[in-house]
Symmetry: C2
Subunit: 246 residues, 2 copies
């Protein structure tokens, strides 16, 4: 099971990320409230069908437009979830860190991926096929309700994002994005976050140059410190004010 035979080239190679592959995925699942209602049997079933894969930074996990055959659980690393929009412009919806599930609005609708998911750091993810998941949902109504709760939570975040993107100026959006990264993505890292300029622009729906300029202003006012992709938030209160004022 841990070794895969590639018959085309007649090579036996070790399954990727095998060393860190825990014996049973109950450990991961226990960290996600959405799976609270699963029975032992259902967890076992997931454990049997799941497939763990490692991705390097920049590698696409799901591509927008392809068939949605699996959902994934991020075990390690960091990924960004974004919509590929007009003229090669992307809109980053969120960053996802371990341990979290990534689904999509294609589930129960057209079974397509409507976003692209890309590894930002070295990432390992478990793939769980839609059919298994559907079977479990049909067996377990509490799990269905958990899913509804999960989706509704995301809808709520989308509502906030609508206001963030359409009713705030660039300063407010950048401050909001930095706070989001601090509070939700790079927690417990002492106010230190890490993001590429283009990603910051894609997260706030502005041009890269504009994002850089706002960042520079914040740096000049000592509200943040910048070193490459690392940004240190020196004055959170100040950022909160800027974000709030818009």
């Amino acid at each position: 099971m841990d070794f895969i035979k590639n018959s085309t080239f007649n090579i036996t190679y070790r399954k990727m990320d095998d060393k860190k592959n825990p014996k049973h995925c109950g450990a991961c699942i226990s960290k996600m409230p959405i799976f609270n209602s699963l029975t032992e049997e259902q967890i076992d079933l997931i454990n049997q069908v799941r497939c763990r894969v490692k991705f390097n930074p920049g590698e696409v996990i799901f591509k927008q437009g392809t068939a949605m055959t699996h959902i994934i659980v991020i075990n390690e690393g960091l990924v960004k979830v974004y919509i590929e929009g007009i003229d090669n412009r992307n809109l980053i919806l969120r960053f996802v860190k371990p341990v979290s599930i990534i689904g999509g609005p294609g589930f129960f609708t057209d079974y397509k991926n409507h976003v692209t998911t890309m590894a930002v750091e070295e990432t390992s993810a478990c793939f769980i096929d839609i059919q298994t998941l559907t079977d479990i949902i049909k067996q377990n109504k509490d799990f269905a309700i958990s899913l509804l709760q999960w989706v509704n939570n995301h809808t709520l975040l989308n509502y906030y994002k609508f206001i963030e993107l359409t009713q705030k100026g660039m300063h407010g959006r950048i401050a909001g994005a930095l706070l989001y990264l601090h509070n939700d993505v790079f927690k417990e890292q002492n106010g230190e976050i890490s993001i590429k300029r283009q990603d910051l622009a894609d997260l706030t729906a502005m041009s890269k140059e504009s994002a850089i300029r706002i960042l520079k202003e914040l740096k000049d006012e000592n509200i943040i410190s910048v070193d490459g992709n690392t940004i240190i938030l020196n004055k959170i209160d100040n950022l909160n004010n800027i974000s709030f004022r818009g």
Copy 2:
């Protein structure tokens, strides 16, 4: 049941909208795919607990921030669903016409209304309490899946809206909004739609003056005709082009 005693003023008055109140709500429910999987008993239950109310234009049905105690079904009229954002600016998420259900992301999460729903035309709506609906969901897994499908469909529309609002210029957004109103809201009305200027601005996340100016340009090019709140789409292809180009 059709008459309500108001004890404070000792007046017996006819329940609003009583005349048009159908005997049983099966008729409405049959028009909404989301309710396909309900049993006769479950439809009867909804029929017993629902409460039909009429609203005048401009009246708020649900107010953002209040407790979410019911979902509604729009039977007649037209409502707008919008987020109340910053500095009294609103963002209209969608218009809803009969027969459709209006829920919200508060369901299964914090049980609050995260949007405001307002009647645009004279509207009648049936209120169904959350508890009854929850009971039915727990009885009927297919209904739970229908709900998931419904929510996911809305998420997908929200994704389109993200791109619409953040990656298109004002011309594209106005054209897109006019086409949305034509295709989804004022269907089968010969290309004639009706909307206030402020609502068009709130739908496209721009100032009212900007919306008016774009509208005037389109009128000067004979792409649309304007008479008060009535707008006639003369050249749909042209609007599609403008919307597509952004």
